[in-house]
């Protein structure tokens, strides 16, 4: 690669990065409020892609029309998983390990439910139809895809930020994130707030899934993009919502640069290595002290 290609590669990467960011926000929100590493979360991306397929191909909706229904449907699924699958464990004061495994199990359930529908069907559906030609800014080619994904992520992230800071429900959510015990003493309905957090993260995951289905493919394998978004959440400081956005964009750019310039086949290995390096580096900093086992 010549240095001149760098801006081009960065722009390409940002589109994917916006999708990572949406998923990473969900990871962080769930961790912040429930203290939970959720392995079911990547599967909401998968669900979003499948719902997106239904909306775009079966119901012939336009992409922008599909966003809200797909997001809401995925959010509902997320709330159901939380209330049916996780709430009883929380109520019994179940261990962290039991919670994590329950999310793993729900991930299996969601994948298998979708597989019932499409056993050998469209596992890789490119939904994109006649894209508009790209435009150029300072000699860098910009696709409308990239603009759209970035705009979607920006709008949703901004809306979430406003919601968390300005509304009562949003403040309640942050309060629960600080300390659910104190929050409940202050009269906040903790369970309802957790359901809300699950719903929001499901919505964001669903929209991300719709975009993944539109840009790449829809189907049960889409969850792997969600798993990689875990790296984005880690880079941004797990549990930190604005950090997740930055982490997502960085990961998108990094991922794309590694794939084009280092090695496409080692790409995933390098991204996973990055998670480890970031975790260890953050642990060394002052902010990261709480990550460490006290030596």
């Amino acid at each position: 690669m010549t240095l001149g290609d760098l801006p081009q590669q960065i722009v390409f990467g940002l589109g994917l990065g916006a999708i990572y960011a949406l998923v990473a926000i969900g990871f962080s929100l769930v961790y912040r409020t429930m203290g939970l590493l959720s392995f079911v979360h990547p599967q909401f991306v998968m669900l979003g892609s499948v719902f997106g397929y239904t909306a775009l191909v079966k119901l012939h909706l336009a992409l922008w029309e599909a966003a809200v229904p797909v997001g809401v449907a995925t959010a509902l699924a997320s709330v159901v998983v939380d209330q049916v699958g996780l709430r009883p464990i929380r109520r019994r004061g179940g261990s962290e390990i039991a919670m994590i495994l329950a999310t793993v199990a729900w991930g299996i359930v969601l994948v298998e439910l979708v597989r019932q529908q499409w056993a050998y069907g469209p596992s890789a559906l490119n939904l994109r139809t006649g894209a508009r030609p790209p435009f150029h800014v300072l000699g860098v080619e910009v696709r409308w895809d990239t603009v759209g994904t970035l705009a979607t992520a920006a709008v949703l992230a901004a809306a979430l930020a406003v919601f968390l800071r300005r509304t009562t429900a949003g403040r309640a959510l942050r309060a629960v994130g600080e300390s659910s015990r104190t929050a409940s003493l202050m009269g906040i309905d903790v369970e309802r707030t957790l359901a809300l957090a699950a719903g929001i993260s499901g919505f964001l995951g669903g929209v991300a899934g719709l975009l993944v289905g539109y840009l790449f493919s829809a189907g049960i394998a889409t969850g792997s993009i969600g798993v990689k978004a875990l790296a984005a959440a880690v880079i941004g400081g797990f549990g930190n919502v604005p950090g997740a956005v930055v982490g997502g964009l960085l990961l998108g750019v990094f991922d794309n640069l590694v794939a084009t310039d280092v090695s496409a086949s080692w790409r995933d290995a390098i991204v996973y290595g990055l998670i480890i390096v970031v975790l260890l580096l953050r642990a060394g900093s002052v902010v990261g002290r709480r990550l460490l086992v006290r030596a």
Binding site: I89, R92, A105, A119, W266, A269, Y272, R294
Partner: protein, 335 residues
């Protein structure tokens, strides 16, 4: 814990009512006899081959049980060590024509090297270690896929010689069964013995109270590393057994689904129970193999079953007895 207090503490841990101790021993011996008796009874049947796979997976899960259950190290990348053991063992089998015991040794060395590579992650706490270990496993899977010279890449390695012990070739599923059963029992016995050693007592103390243990002079960081290292030995051995029994091994077996599946076995079986690892492996393998009749729905059922189990029986299958006895006792005291 000082050296002088150790024998006393050890004795205290062993001191059980004599009746219970005799019962435990007779149950253990009876179980072992029954397990060995299955070999001639089911010689040549599909059921015995099924049990071979259950035992291999259970052995891999056994190491993880030690890490998670005994030391609280939530390792979500255990498949990497299963794979390192398999590929390390097969390398010396195929290139240097070693026999099974040599392959075990090589597998253990390679897996321990992996544990050393993973050691820096142990500085991370709880869920952060879980995440980092998940990334470690995912990374190792990618490495297995790319390191064609070592793993055969996507094609995998084949024509792996069957197990050979002390000059005897072990062929057929009865021999395979006796072989994996014996190795699994040895691993089980060693881990059970270790749990009662000074090291096991220190781990016990760390679980009770990390700060308390530290105040008593336990080096917590070192304990966690020992647990990680000891816990990669059974999966490494299981990797060799898998490769030799099946004669073929592919990198795709050691992906993150396998890691997740191993931790599932441990927790479903009961995280605090060594035999729970095998109970979990039995359930998982039963669903995968015997529920073919409901083909598409079996994993759906499995997932739903785990989700339900985490709600109604967080202690896993191994806690069934305790829960039932507890419920009966509660009813009796109420009456």
């Amino acid at each position: 814990m000082s050296a002088r207090e150790l024998p006393a503490a050890r004795a205290a841990l062993r001191r059980r009512p004599d009746g219970r101790r005799a019962l435990t021993w007779s149950l253990t011996i009876a179980t072992i006899v029954v397990l060995y008796a299955l070999a001639p009874l089911y010689d040549g049947t599909f059921f015995l081959s099924f049990l071979v796979d259950v035992i291999i997976l259970g052995t891999a899960a056994l190491g993880l049980q030690h890490q998670v259950g005994d030391a609280g190290v939530l390792n979500l990348g255990q498949a990497a060590f299963f794979g390192l053991g398999a590929f390390g063992g097969v390398w010396v089998l195929q290139h240097w024509h070693w026999t099974t015991l040599g392959a075990f040794a090589a597998a253990i060395v390679v897996a321990l090297a992996g544990a050393v590579a993973m050691a820096p992650l142990l500085r991370l706490r709880g869920v952060y270690f879980a995440m980092a270990s998940f990334a470690f496993g995912a990374m190792m899977f990618e490495v297995f896929g790319q390191a064609v010279g070592f793993t055969g890449g996507e094609n995998g390695l084949y024509l792996i010689p069957p197990p050979k012990l002390l000059g005897h070739q072990l062929l057929g599923n009865r021999d395979s069964y006796l072989f994996v059963l014996t190795v699994a029992l040895v691993c089980y016995g060693l881990l059970a013995r270790v749990a009662r050693s000074g090291y096991g007592l220190s781990l016990h103390a760390v679980r009770q109270s990390e700060n308390g243990a530290r105040a008593a002079g336990v080096n917590v960081a070192r304990m966690r590393f020992f647990a990680l290292a000891l816990g990669v030995v059974p999966p490494a051995v299981a990797g060799v057994m898998y490769a030799q029994v099946h004669g073929i091994v592919q990198a795709s077996i050691f992906d993150q689904n396998q890691s997740v599946s191993l931790i599932t076995m441990v927790i479903v079986g009961g995280v605090a129970s060594r035999w729970g690892a095998f109970a979990g492996a039995l359930l998982a393998q039963y669903v995968a193999v015997y529920l073919q009749s409901i083909a598409g729905y079996r994993f759906l059922l499995y997932g739903a079953l785990i989700a339900l189990l985490m709600i109604v029986l967080p202690g896993g299958i191994a806690s069934v007895g305790r829960v039932v006895v507890g419920a009966a006792a509660a009813r009796r005291s109420r009456a």
